[in-house]
């Protein structure tokens, strides 16, 4: 479980996140909406542990451990992973090696995983070097598949992805989050839902991802403040109809 309490964050001397409260229970996935520059990426980077995002108040608890000030790799080994919006290029490091790094000591078939996101032809290229927008998304998902974290942060996983690949990306995220509810002979859907443990937080502008991943809750970040509603589709419709500002007002009124 992820629990964020009254979190306040500064970036370059400016407060960018204010009084954030957020709870994501095992098996739950939340969608995060908000206008450009509202602080969505900042929230994800803060949860991942990027030191330039300075926590000036509140705390982040994951699996019962206070990780508010833990280094990034400790969070990764506790089971937090991220699919980035704009990851850096590492020259001389092949994508294949990067996937192996993600797998750490687990036995994985790099080829097999790559096939699932149609990325076999990129394994010998330097990670992110000259990757197109859509290719970056698939590369990030490939790394997460190898890493297999318990809590996954997705920063706009579907933006820049073409119509054909969107299903691939959506279904891959669903699988990562155990949201692909193919009931088998042995297990009922209900049983699968109960056994689901993976958690997710997905930033999306368009909401296309909702067609593939059963998202439990939607959140709107506006001016560094988080407001919450239960139904992500409703939020999306509201934003579409009256815009972020009005939408946030109405959810606040509902509280």
């Amino acid at each position: 479980m992820l629990l964020i309490e009254d979190l306040q964050v500064e970036l370059a001397g400016k407060t960018i996140l204010k009084h954030i409260d957020l709870e994501i229970k095992p098996g739950e996935t939340h969608a995060l909406f908000g206008p450009n520059g509202s602080g969505k990426t900042s929230l994800l980077m803060t949860i991942m542990g990027y030191p330039q995002y300075k926590v000036t108040g509140g705390k982040i608890i994951f699996k019962g451990v206070d990780i508010t000030h833990s280094p990034i790799n400790e969070r990764a080994s506790l089971g937090i992973g991220m699919s980035y919006q704009r990851p850096p290029t590492i020259h001389g490091l092949k994508t294949r090696q990067m996937v192996e790094i993600c797998a750490a000591k687990r036995e994985v078939s790099v080829e097999g995983l790559a096939r699932r996101v149609n990325f076999q032809d990129f394994l010998e290229r330097d990670v992110n070097a000259g990757f197109s927008g859509g290719e970056i998304k698939r590369s990030e998902l490939l790394q997460l598949m190898a890493q297999n974290p318990d809590f996954m942060l997705f920063d706009e996983p579907e933006s820049g992805v073409d119509m054909e690949n969107i299903a691939l990306v959506g279904n891959t995220i669903a699988k990562l989050l155990q949201k692909d509810c193919e009931s088998t002979d042995q297990k009922s859907r209900l049983q699968m839902k109960r056994e689901r443990t993976k958690m997710g937080l997905i930033i999306t502008h368009t909401g296309y991802i909702l067609d593939y991943v059963a998202v439990d809750k939607g959140q709107v970040l506006y001016n560094g403040v988080l407001s919450c509603s239960t139904n992500p589709r409703e939020i999306l419709r509201c934003i579409g109809e009256v815009g972020y500002e009005e939408c946030v007002r109405c959810t606040i009124d509902n509280l």
């Binding site: 280094p71 990034i72 969070r75 850096p88 590492i90 490091l93 790094i101 993600c102 330097d126 790394q143």
Partner: protein, 408 residues
């Protein structure tokens, strides 16, 4: 017997001539008298002390000769092992070549000048030995020839002269390691190398240096590439050295001749490296690429590159990238000289530190900060060298890996 007297006379005039770049070295402090060593047969090579084998291995020289087409091994002033296992490829100590082969006169000091500076002069005045490696017309190297120049005696000045000839349509691969024995810390290596790549021949020359803290190294090399020839010159130095200065020069003298130079240097504290590559592009269709990757951990590294385009329809690129990890200096000096319309020359130089963003990215994939740093450094040093046989690529990777502990 080749009469060297005129050369020796000429050398005598340059005995005090300082080199235009690099710290001046007082050669008086070193011993030059020959040091006798026993000749080693194949079994003898295998019986070398473990420590010594390890030193050689770090410079890419494998005494088991697995996947090697031949071996030249000079210890101090003495050639202790010399053979080729492949027909069409000759490996001969240069003194023997000077005595027995008339053709040597067409190559000896024909590219490098004996009176260039005090080091070229000293090597001729007091030549110890060196190798001649020659691929006969059409011969193709299956495995690389390994050559090793080893310093065992403390305080020695080792004077060597090497000649490498790839005859027409031949393909020759050489890995050459320079190393010191574990107890020798001080000495100077003066090495003249002349490379002849003839029409449509291909030569790859991979040099790995494994020196010691107090060693001074003054290689002097010049290469000439004829029509359609390819010269691939790789240099790796990951170990401390007091002072290393070299500026190998390549002349592309035939149409469509190509030169590519790659150097990888890791500078240790108290070490000074002044290394570069210079290529003259003289005929149409010439191509040159000079690529340097340098990292300093407190050493001083001057990374030079100089491309001279003399005719139209040539293409050349220079790339110097430096990382400063724990202090030190990286001084990149790229020079481009285009003499006519229609040359296409470029350079790219960057000196900096490892991007924190890259470290963080890797840490979010589970690596510790140190692991992330070394992964990035390894990536930085791993340059793709097109045309290099996989075993030699593996040797370069091994040299990098073996010294990784020192780098971090």
């Amino acid at each position: 017997m080749y009469d060297r007297q005129p050369l020796i006379n000429k050398a005598a005039t340059a005995l005090d001539k300082k080199a235009p770049i690099g710290p001046d070295i007082d050669l008086g402090q070193f011993e030059q008298t020959p040091v006798p060593h026993e000749h080693l047969d194949d079994a003898g090579l295998l019986k070398l002390p473990e420590e010594e084998k390890q030193q050689l291995l770090m410079a890419g020289v494998d005494v088991s000769e697995r996947e090697r087409g031949g071996t030249f091994f000079q210890k101090d002033t003495e050639v202790v092992h010399c053979k080729s296992k492949q027909e069409g490829i000759e490996v001969i100590p240069i003194r023997e070549a000077l005595e027995k082969h008339d053709w040597i006169k067409d190559y000896y000091w024909k590219l490098a000048s004996v009176d260039a500076d005090k080091y070229t002069a000293a090597s001729e005045m007091n030549l110890h030995n060196g190798y001649v490696i020659r691929a006969l017309p059409g011969a193709k190297s299956i495995y690389p020839i390994q050559a090793c120049l080893y310093l065992d005696k403390q305080g020695l000045q080792q004077n060597v002269h090497n000649i490498i000839i790839a005859e027409e349509d031949s393909e020759l691969h050489i890995i050459t390691g320079c190393s010191t024995s574990p107890h020798a810390t001080k000495g100077i290596h003066v090495g003249i190398s002349e490379f002849y790549i003839k029409k449509n021949a291909k030569l790859s020359f991979t040099m790995i240096h494994n020196w010691a803290e107090d060693m001074v190294v003054r290689p002097r090399s010049v290469a000439q590439v004829e029509e359609g020839g390819l010269f691939l010159n790789n240099y790796v130095c990951m170990k401390p050295v007091r002072s290393l200065q070299m500026y190998p020069t390549t002349h592309l003298v035939g149409e469509n001749a190509v030169a590519r130079m790659y150097s990888i240097i890791v500078g240790s504290p108290d070490s000074e490296y002044d290394v570069g590559g210079r290529v003259y592009l003289k005929k149409k269709g010439n191509r040159a690429e000079v690529v340097a990757r340098t990292i300093t951990n407190g050493g001083r590294i001057i990374s030079r590159g100089h491309l001279i385009g003399e005719v139209a329809d040539i293409k050349a690129h220079l790339e110097c990238k430096g990382l400063i990890l724990k202090g030190g200096l990286v001084y990149a000096v790229p020079e481009l000289e285009g003499h006519v319309d229609g040359v296409e020359m470029s350079h790219e130089a960057a000196v900096g530190k490892i991007a924190q963003e890259e470290i963080n990215y890797l840490m979010s994939r589970g690596l510790s900060e140190d692991e992330a740093t070394s992964t990035i450094v390894r990536g930085f040093l791993s340059v793709d060298i097109p045309g290099l046989p996989p075993q030699l690529k593996a040797e370069i990777d091994k040299a990098i890996e073996l010294s990784e502990k020192d780098v971090m």
